[in-house]
């Protein structure tokens, strides 16, 4: 094998029983087109490497050739499971760069949509993660509730998956009549559904044996690898950008950052489950405090950014998602770099997998919660 190719260090060893196993890119448990090369010794995984890039579309380069407003629909295609979170980061980054004011009402509605996104994303994660491990029932229940959230997106922005739900300067439209009532009905219903999930999994003996002590990553390793999101919170570090660098109106809201000490698959499961609970709390507060007023601020027709650079990050359901924009004073960004949490979290895969059993690989990949659209960009 040539040097520099993926998996070059995984050449078959001299040891008898060593086996190189390819998992993916067409594998249902890799959540997209991820190829994992595993070096196994019987059932044990000795080493692994991941091969990415099957979904590369050159989003960062595309951004250089489009005006600021026109790149917003492209951000949907990064993390397509949580498209509004991607829109939010881009739109906020542009607003900071172009120094635009956003009305209060728009900020509240943005937080409502962002937290609903977190719910939808975590529901999809929970369903598919449990299904990978073997609990098929939960997948159906999770998708039922996710459908309700997507219906709310459809009622507000018109689309369900690639939403393009925010605009630079505010929102495309105000909340339609009856939307808040729909949201409140969902908020009343969801806690009972969440307790159903807990009943199905949290104390289930099979679930415990499949997840406890698997894919352990310590707090120090998390910092070394630059992990973020539920991964780092599952290892005991309460890093959440909603609290550390509040954007929109998160500094006015009362919510907890759930953490767990163990750093295994089960800890990350508990963190995400509690995050859904906290999202509900945030949603309730936003609905209660929602002010009236305009939904979009003054946006000049021709947006021209001043010369300069900026990094803006938000807490997407998967971790710290950021845009680095370098502007040379034109109507288009000169350079754009996307800091994708899935990409960085995925790099720690060998740390998490080494020493695990082959069947645990699926559990570990599921617990990182990657979306390949964002990894490959």
């Amino acid at each position: 094998m040539e040097t520099g190719t993926v998996g070059a260090f995984l050449e078959p060893g001299e040891k008898e029983g060593d086996f190189i196993l390819n998992m993916g890119p067409q594998h249902p448990a890799t959540h997209g087109v991820l190829r994992v090369i595993l070096r196994t010794e019987g059932e044990n995984v000795v080493d692994c490497d991941s091969d990415i890039g099957y979904l590369h579309r050159g989003q960062e380069k595309t951004a250089e050739n489009l005006p600021y407003v026109e790149f917003t629909p492209y951000t949907d295609r990064l993390d397509y499971i949580a498209a509004p979170a991607m829109n939010l980061t881009w739109v906020e980054a542009c607003e900071r760069l172009l120094q635009l004011e956003v009305p209060e009402r728009a900020k509240y509605i943005r937080v409502i949509i962002a937290e609903l996104t977190r719910l939808a994303s975590h529901l999809l994660w929970l369903g598919t993660h449990a299904m990978d491990i073997g609990a098929l029932t939960l997948f159906l229940y999770c998708f039922r509730e996710r459908e309700m959230v997507l219906d709310l997106f459809e009622g507000f922005g018109g689309a369900r998956l690639t939403t393009h739900i925010f605009r630079v300067g505010g929102l495309p439209n105000d909340l339609p009549k009856g939307w808040l009532e729909d949201l409140e009905a969902f908020l009343d219903l969801f806690p009972s559904r969440l307790s159903d999930y807990h009943k199905l999994l949290t104390k289930n003996r099979i679930w415990l044996r499949r997840t406890k002590g698997i894919g352990v990553v310590t707090a120090d390793e998390c910092v070394d690898w630059g992990l973020s999101g539920p991964l780092i919170r599952g290892s005991g570090i309460a890093l959440d950008l909603r609290r550390k660098q509040p954007y929109e109106i998160y500094d006015r809201l009362d919510f907890d950052i759930p953490t767990q000490e163990e750093g295994d698959v089960y800890a990350r499961y508990l963190v995400r489950m509690e995050e859904m609970n906290q999202s509900l709390r945030i949603l309730r507060q936003c609905v209660d405090q929602l002010p009236s007023g305009p939904f979009i601020g003054k946006v000049p027709k021709r947006l021209k950014a001043p010369k300069g650079e900026l990094y803006h990050a938000t807490e997407s359901p998967r971790g710290e998602f950021g845009f680095y924009i370098y502007s040379d004073g034109g109507t288009q960004p000169a350079r754009v770099k996307i800091r994708a949490p899935s990409f960085i979290n995925l790099q720690a895969l060998p740390v998490l997998i080494r020493g695990a059993l082959l069947a645990d690989v699926v559990a570990v990949i599921g617990s990182i919660d990657i979306v390949l659209g964002e990894v490959d960009r």
Binding site: L66, V69, Y74, T137, G158, L200, N204
Partner: protein, 189 residues
């Protein structure tokens, strides 16, 4: 002795069925509830009023479009899926013509959207100064070849009837003409 204790505690934990009972109770609970699935080809779900389907042109009350040919939609489209051609009308030609939109002083011989490129972002709808464009509620368009994926002006006007705004205007009595007019051919020979 400690090993025996460990074994016994494990055995007790294994014999305790509370976790399985809790899980099974959830599954059994849903045996008695109604299914939430919509049996798609036989029944179709209602879309919300602002659902975004294929791009459409809103017909005005005389059956023409509202487009004034300002080309702002063409400029803002991130994927360049729109093709618009505009022909300005002279003063003589304008006499006797009825347009709903006062700004409208032009005919639009061509207005095409390439559905293979369009990503339904609705930026063109938002920038349109005369609200000539709208996202229709049609989401399924079945074609047998690629050329049909480019919708011409007539088909976009037909789709305009499947928009919430057209229905509202029809209900309010703002629209008289049901028929859709074809613009004059580009070259008169």
């Amino acid at each position: 002795m400690s090993k025996l204790k460990e074994f016994l505690s494990k055995a007790v934990a294994m014999a305790d069925p509370s976790d399985l009972v809790a899980g099974a109770s959830v599954t059994i609970k849903y045996f008695f509830s109604h299914p939430v699935t919509v049996m798609y080809p036989f029944e179709k779900r209602e879309f919300s009023s602002c659902a975004k389907g294929v791009l459409a042109l809103i017909p005005d009350k005389y059956g023409d479009d509202l487009c004034i040919g300002c080309m702002q939609c063409v400029k803002i489209c991130p994927v360049d899926c729109l093709t618009v051609e505009m022909r300005k009308l002279s003063k003589e030609e304008l006499l006797g013509r009825k347009f709903e939109e006062k700004k409208k002083k032009a005919l639009i011989p061509t207005f095409e959207v390439d559905l293979q490129r369009c990503m339904l972002c609705s930026l063109c709808v938002e920038i349109c100064p005369t609200d000539a464009l709208e996202m229709s509620q049609t989401v399924t368009l079945i074609m047998t070849n690629r050329e049909d994926q480019v919708l011409d002006r007539m088909r976009m006007l037909e789709l305009g009837k499947d928009t919430q705004r057209y229905r509202n205007r029809l209900a309010a009595g703002e629209i008289e003409c049901e028929a859709i007019q074809c613009p004059e051919p580009k070259h008169k020979d």
